[in-house]
Amino acid sequence: MFRRLRDDPPIAFTFEGAVVQGRAGDSVAAALLALGVRAPRDTAVSGTPRGPYCMMGVCFDCLVEIDGIANRQSCMVPLAPGMVVRRQRGKRDV
């Protein structure tokens, strides 16, 4: 669905335990969309699959777990080498 305009240097991270690749300058959400992951979370109330929408920190539909911290807005987090990213499934635990 999404096509990169240019190929910046690659950055390796993991998503759901698999090593995958984004590009320098990606947000986590952008990297996931470029990988074809369109719905990295299930909503907290009804469990409906949702994915990045606004890409500017407003809609909270791009929530994922990053490095063990749940409910992070992936569109607001710059991708970094070695990040451990997992799907956000429903409500976070406390």
Binding site: V45, N71, K91, R92, D93, V94
Partner: protein
């Protein structure tokens, strides 16, 4: 020609609760509401169905609150059956937590004063120590020295309540008219009322003022008084988390959808509904002392609302002597009292007369005898 048997002015939780009850009594009912931009406490409130601290200085208010809380279960079931919307009612008891022995002593003393009032019907409550509360709510922090528990207390999802009330009122045949702010109410010779709104005129046999802060301006038009003032309350809400607060407390509660609401403030003479860092910070600190795990949750929104406060803090229910058929209902606990408004107050209005148990809520209590 009268368009309606009753016009309810105000489409918030209070107005809709009454309108639902009136429509259930077979009255042709219209709700005249403002638009999206309104000082709408129904969208800002803390959503407790709360009993334990109500009625100091006016025992009948305690009784009225208790009757509403007791009616809430069937009320919620009826709403669900009519609309398919679950209000998330939870009445498994609630706490007022204390962070110091002084606070706990003050709460205990307040409860004893409440219960020592003449004519008070006892309600169940007890002071619990830290260990007892920790068994029910393991998330409490070490600074919680104890608290008051009342098994009648609870909470609800007030936005879904609002939606369910709206759906049920309309499904019972009432007409909901948004963007109809009322300008003037003109009592008609021979009875009934002509209501001038920004959109058009409405004729109704009865009029019920349920416009919150707007009642102060409207009441004198029909020979009533509603000297209410705004009191600002600020609220924080966190991201949604798995359930860990198994009871409501008076200042911190976890909604049925997982977000934690924190609301602990009262400000007089507010200029607007803005939130501010000073009060928000204190509320967050106190909430975190009660439940340390809150420190790991992100706050996703803050907002403020305006409570509808009378001079003594109690509701005003009144009927006009000068222009029979005009009623006023105003309070700051529209969620707790929703069941009473729909099931007890509305039938009185439908019958044309408020019953004796509501006499103590007349605004005449604010009249001061003239000095000799």
């Amino acid at each position: 020609m009268r368009d309606f048997d009753a016009a309810v002015i105000g489409g918030g939780v209070v107005g809709l609760s009454i309108a639902r009850g009136l429509a259930g009594q077979g009255l042709r009912c219209v709700i005249l509401d403002e638009g999206d931009i309104a000082a709408r406490a129904s969208r800002a409130n803390f959503a407790l169905v709360w009993v334990q601290s109500k009625g100091m200085g006016l025992a009948p208010y305690g009784h009225w609150t208790q009757r509403s809380a007791a009616a809430w279960g069937a009320f919620a079931e009826d709403l669900r059956a009519e609309t398919g919307i679950a209000t998330g009612l939870r009445q498994n008891g609630g706490y007022a937590l204390a962070l110091s022995e002084d606070e706990l002593d003050a709460r205990r003393a307040a409860m004893m004063r409440l219960h020592n009032q003449p004519g008070w019907d006892a309600i169940p409550w007890e002071v619990q120590d830290h260990a007892t509360i920790a068994r029910a709510m393991p998330a409490i922090g070490p600074r919680v020295v104890g608290g008051v528990f009342c098994p009648l207390d609870g909470d609800v999802n007030s936005l879904r309540l609002f939606r369910a009330l709206h759906a049920s009122t309309v499904s019972r045949g009432a007409t909901y008219l948004p963007d109809h702010p009322v300008q003037t109410i003109i009592p008609q010779p021979g009875g009934g009322f002509l209501i001038r709104t920004a959109a058009r005129d409405i004729a109704a046999a009865r009029v019920v003022l349920a416009a919150g802060l707007g009642n102060a301006r409207l009441a004198p038009m029909v020979g009533l008084a509603a000297p209410v003032r705004p009191q600002r309350g600020q609220i924080l809400v966190t991201e949604k988390a798995a359930p860990f607060l198994h009871h409501a407390t008076i200042t911190v509660r976890q909604t049925d959808e997982g977000g934690v609401m924190i609301g602990d403030s009262k400000e007089e003479a507010p200029p607007d509904t803005r939130t501010g860092p000073g009060i928000i910070a204190v509320m967050a600190q106190r909430a975190q002392a009660m439940f340390p795990v809150l420190g790991s949750l992100n706050v996703v929104r803050t907002w403020a609302g305006l409570r509808v406060m009378s001079p003594d803090g109690f509701p005003i229910y009144d009927q006009s002597v000068a222009t029979p058929g005009a009623f006023v209902a105003t309070c700051h606990s529209g969620v707790t009292l929703a069941a009473a408004h729909a099931e007890l107050l509305a039938p009185m209005i439908a019958a044309g007369r408020l019953d004796a148990p509501l006499a103590p809520f007349s605004a005449r209590r604010f009249d001061v005898p003239q000095a000799a």
